[in-house]
Point group: C2
Chain length 203, copies 2
Amino acid sequence: MAKSPRDQDTSRPRQLTLTEQARRTQLVEVTIGLVAERGYAGTSLSRIAEGAGITKAAVLYHFPSKDAVVSAAHEHVLTALTGHVAEAVEAVPPEGGPAAYVRAMIGHLREHPRHTRMIVEAMTQGGGDGDYDPSLRWRPLASLLAAARQARGVTSELDLRTLAITIGGAVDAIVAERLADDGYDTGAAADLLVAMVDRTLFA
Amino acid sequence: MAKSPRDQDTSRPRQLTLTEQARRTQLVEVTIGLVAERGYAGTSLSRIAEGAGITKAAVLYHFPSKDAVVSAAHEHVLTALTGHVAEAVEAVPPEGGPAAYVRAMIGHLREHPRHTRMIVEAMTQGGGDGDYDPSLRWRPLASLLAAARQARGVTSELDLRTLAITIGGAVDAIVAERLADDGYDTGAAADLLVAMVDRTLFA
DNA sequence: GTCTATAACGCGATAGAC
DNA sequence: GTCTATCGCGTTATAGAC
């Protein structure tokens, strides 16, 4: 933002790339906030531009299209979420994987409410890329569940696909409730969900 | 629908109300289908008109605005769902209420896939009325859970709000999976969910 | 009761000045 | 690199003919 003497180097074009990346980051940030509070349909190019303090045309200089901006924002929040969850899961032994998954998901989305709305919009409307594929979500979790059962030596029959889908939906609902009510205790909710899952998983 | 000789009374203007109601019904039906396959944002006045075989202006003759059409459609699917679920719940003793609720929800939405998409759009975007209030959904279910526990004489501590929210989210996810994969066995999924709930509820 | 015609607006995107 | 200006399209909604 501020202009230091070094930034005055007009000879090197690479310098401009740096400020361009800052602009891209700013635009993504503005878009996340806009989608969070006005929804995907209410997020127009002009409002993104207004939020960033530039014009529509200027936005389209940094991104080829409006969809590209939204896609970048979508990818950004999704990467942050999956990264956080993966880190949490890898930090515990296999038996604790499902519990870590649930708590990491709920915790991350609680700490980043703006990301939350963006993600649900993306799932519903295919905001960024094409159609949303639900198996991308439940398959990793199902693997986690299988690993936990194996680590505990449980061999009984269980529909892990449905269990994974159920857990995913429950997490979404808990996060949505938190979004609607700041006073909702997501920690206690996570505890109850984890208890239900563990009881089913290791039965 | 069919015209009996009595309906031929041309003197009474009330007769016209009958065909108008048929048109309204048709427009609502078209809108449900449109929202189901193109989403709320992709449902425009012209497409509704095209689907009904009339013009945009004709649509706005029967409804005061586009939002009124969508609201009517939203109300229609919601009434059908709640009616079906309420009927199913009232047909069983209190201990079976939660199970009946889960099976009725999943069953109804499986039989009416077009309704499903409309409902989720309405929840996400406030398609019809204003903002969606989650407590409208979990409170009735929480009452059901409390009644079931009381009928069984269970007095242990349990967060029924979170359990109700969890069940709702799980149902949504199961229905969504069915929407994405015709081969998904919703009956088995309902069985697993019911088992999880009963185990938690009566513990 | 349904139509044609059109108003009035917001949208995404482009061209070209600077 | 960012601007102004504008195009072309789709939208909701209205006015008035028939």
